[in-house]
Symmetry: none
Subunit: 412 residues, 2 copies
């Protein structure tokens, strides 16, 4: 399907934000087999927006519009789309209830224009907004597919993955496409592609599409068969061939996250976890507790952001820090052991390192030690990471999640 993406918002034309929605949607669409030929950005101006919409419908089969679904007078996407395809706007009662409910719960005052967010193009399928108030929608007009999505990436991304893409896939080919995403950590996209080059090139059903994400790589396998059994069998076979070559980097399916996999392996082994964080400042605990129900396995974290706190809150020996520095395998090991014993957890994990921009005297930025301690043993994973302060911190958290998950599965 020839697809194009229109972003609406004067803030984009003023350069206040980058159009990361177009990037996200393009990557998702590409890996699902859609051809994106144009991105357009236009401001909150109904005449120019209408012109851009008309042009899009003259050259594309699927038009995805982002932004302009909010409550303010500037938000004109629905009104303009309605004019473009000759459709009325009507209230979606479920969305309206959600909005009224939100204000009831929070006790905040609702300005009347908030109701406008519940208006949808008549006859369209509503895409629920699990992270905000303005719903998205998808509809057909003169053989074209129109999809409207909210501008904030935190709302658009989950909406598109959960509801938008499945709606498009249903319209797409003749044979239903079943897809399965395999998730990898610790290997780059080009390295994974090289390992699988012959499979990726020669295989057409299922197709294999790599996609680089946030420090992870995913492979989307898409199989087209009328029979579900046949599709699943083909996906299983392809998955097996891939895991034979790259299984050590594999950690989960579809939308699962490293955090979820870790909590699953903790729950399956009835083990508990605590963390001692220096470098990551609480990020590991934050990531684990992103997952509902984390409190069943995650006890807590002691964030020790200077040497004094490492001694005071965790009892790391002063001589360890003096002799090896706070950024050392020795300090990491003591931290992990201390937090495990202090909290009475089955596993303790620790993070120490230099995130930069400045080193810590002993260690240059990017030097990271992660220790994992269980009653059996304490292992230290030394890493040399590159990039910005927050890239180093984010990557350290991911490495910790992945290594701990693999370790728990191995000790099981």
């Amino acid at each position: 399907m020839k697809t194009e993406i229109i972003a609406v918002g004067t803030e984009l034309l003023l350069g206040q934000i980058a159009n990361t929605n177009a990037q996200f949607l393009s990557a998702e669409l590409a890996s699902a087999g859609f051809h994106v030929y144009h991105h357009t950005t236009v401001g909150d101006n109904p005449d120019r927006l209408l012109e851009v919409m008309k042009q899009a419908s003259s050259r594309s089969e699927c038009i995805i519009i982002t932004g302009g679904l909010g409550p303010t007078k500037d938000d004109l996407t629905k009104e303009t789309a309605a004019a473009c395809i000759g459709r009325k706007l009507v209230y979606d009662h479920r969305s309206l209830d959600d909005i009224l409910n939100h204000y009831k719960i929070t006790g905040k005052e609702m300005s009347e224009n908030n109701k406008k967010q519940a208006l949808i193009l008549e006859g369209s399928l509503v895409l629920p907004n699990d992270f905000g108030m303005a719903p998205g929608m998808v509809t057909e007009a003169e053989n074209k597919t129109w999809m409207l999505l909210p501008g904030p990436p935190s709302e658009l991304k989950p909406m598109f993955r959960q509801y938008g893409l499945p709606a498009l896939l249903q319209k797409g080919g003749k044979e239903p496409v079943r897809s399965r995403v395999l998730r990898f950590f610790g290997i780059g996209e080009s390295m994974l592609e090289a390992k699988l080059a012959d499979l990726i090139e020669n295989q057409t059903n299922p197709t294999i599409a790599p996609l680089a994400g946030d420090f992870e790589v995913t492979l989307r396998l898409s199989a087209s068969f009328y029979s579900t059994e046949e599709a699943e069998r083909a996906l299983d076979e392809t998955e097996q061939r891939i895991l034979e070559r790259a299984g050590e980097f594999f950690y989960g399916y579809d939308d699962s996250t490293l955090e979820e996999q870790l909590l699953k392996s903790l729950q399956q082994t009835a083990t508990s976890l605590s963390a001692a964080e220096s470098l990551t400042g609480g990020w590991f605990g934050k990531s684990v507790t992103d997952v509902p129900g984390a409190s069943k396995s995650f006890m807590g974290s002691v964030v020790v952001y200077n040497n004094n706190m490492k001694e005071k809150l965790l009892g790391v020996k002063a001589e360890t820090i003096q002799k090896h520095g706070a950024v050392s395998a020795e300090c990491a090991a003591e931290m992990a052991e201390a937090v495990r014993q202090k909290t009475g957890s089955g596993f303790g994990i620790s993070f120490t390192g230099a995130a930069g921009p400045d080193g810590d005297g002993h260690a240059k930025p990017g030097t990271v030690y992660i220790a994992i301690s269980s009653p059996q043993q304490t292992d230290v994973l030394p890493l040399q990471l590159a990039g910005s302060r927050n890239r180093i911190r984010a990557l350290a958290v991911k490495h910790g999640l992945f290594a701990l998950h693999k370790r728990i599965v191995a000790e099981k």
Copy 2:
């Protein structure tokens, strides 16, 4: 000048990179008084590129094209622009010398197609590339200005600032625009807009443009004057009128963050901080330590993710939890006081609440208590938040950062 930006590159349509060039150029152009009305992205396809160029010249006075100036067969921007405006391509001898010289110096082998980078539209002004090989160019055709810039941001940005924008300004003859961004927390976009409706609608110099971000709202004030002093005076006056109405929600300027403002106020008062986190699981510590140099003021955090840990690691009284629940003002107050005293910090902050999706028995999702403790007093901020688990957690962190910043400023 009506301006538009065309980005050329299939990698953009595949979502491999975001179009940050369009953002950069738009911000630069806006602050120089140019009106950017469209961004378009198109792949390395000469037919679609030609069509997009023709359309641009039908509606804009200045067309800036990024990407496609390199040596490979995919790089077709110059050839297509030449066809669009009916111009020949000729060698720029200075650029050609630079390219030959580069290969001579580095001792690398030059493939013949590298010379292609020295081709320019006949009669155009060359924009030298100080960080790469492909020069940019600017030319006039039928009263339109065409500018071609290289795709890599590390080449495009310095080229545009050093040579591109000055070339455009010479043609424009406009009053330069100075802008200032005011940042607000704790008030929605529509409510802030309602408070300032008359100012926003009636005022044209400076203009006031609201923008909703991640739980924050910003106002961009843009003033057009030849004199810098006059512009600054007008911005000051407008800022004052805005802060008279909404000053309680204001926290900083331009790109500053709540975390930076908090650390600044801690450093200015030579105070230190620690945190006790339940609900937020380490997120508060993570946010504060996103900022380089946080270790000067931030001691650490104790993440207590179940009731047992609250007693064990912080010494919260069992009877407090029994009587009031862990999600209570009383528990929050004890946590903040305990972590302050345990770490010897000037301020202790605590977060307890129910993030959902399930409540904690006593409290329904969205119930949040934040306590701030100093030697003077301990205050509890009760909140009722709505939305997803992570929205509630993220918002709680922001509320904590903002309340603490205001409290420190007030105690100063």
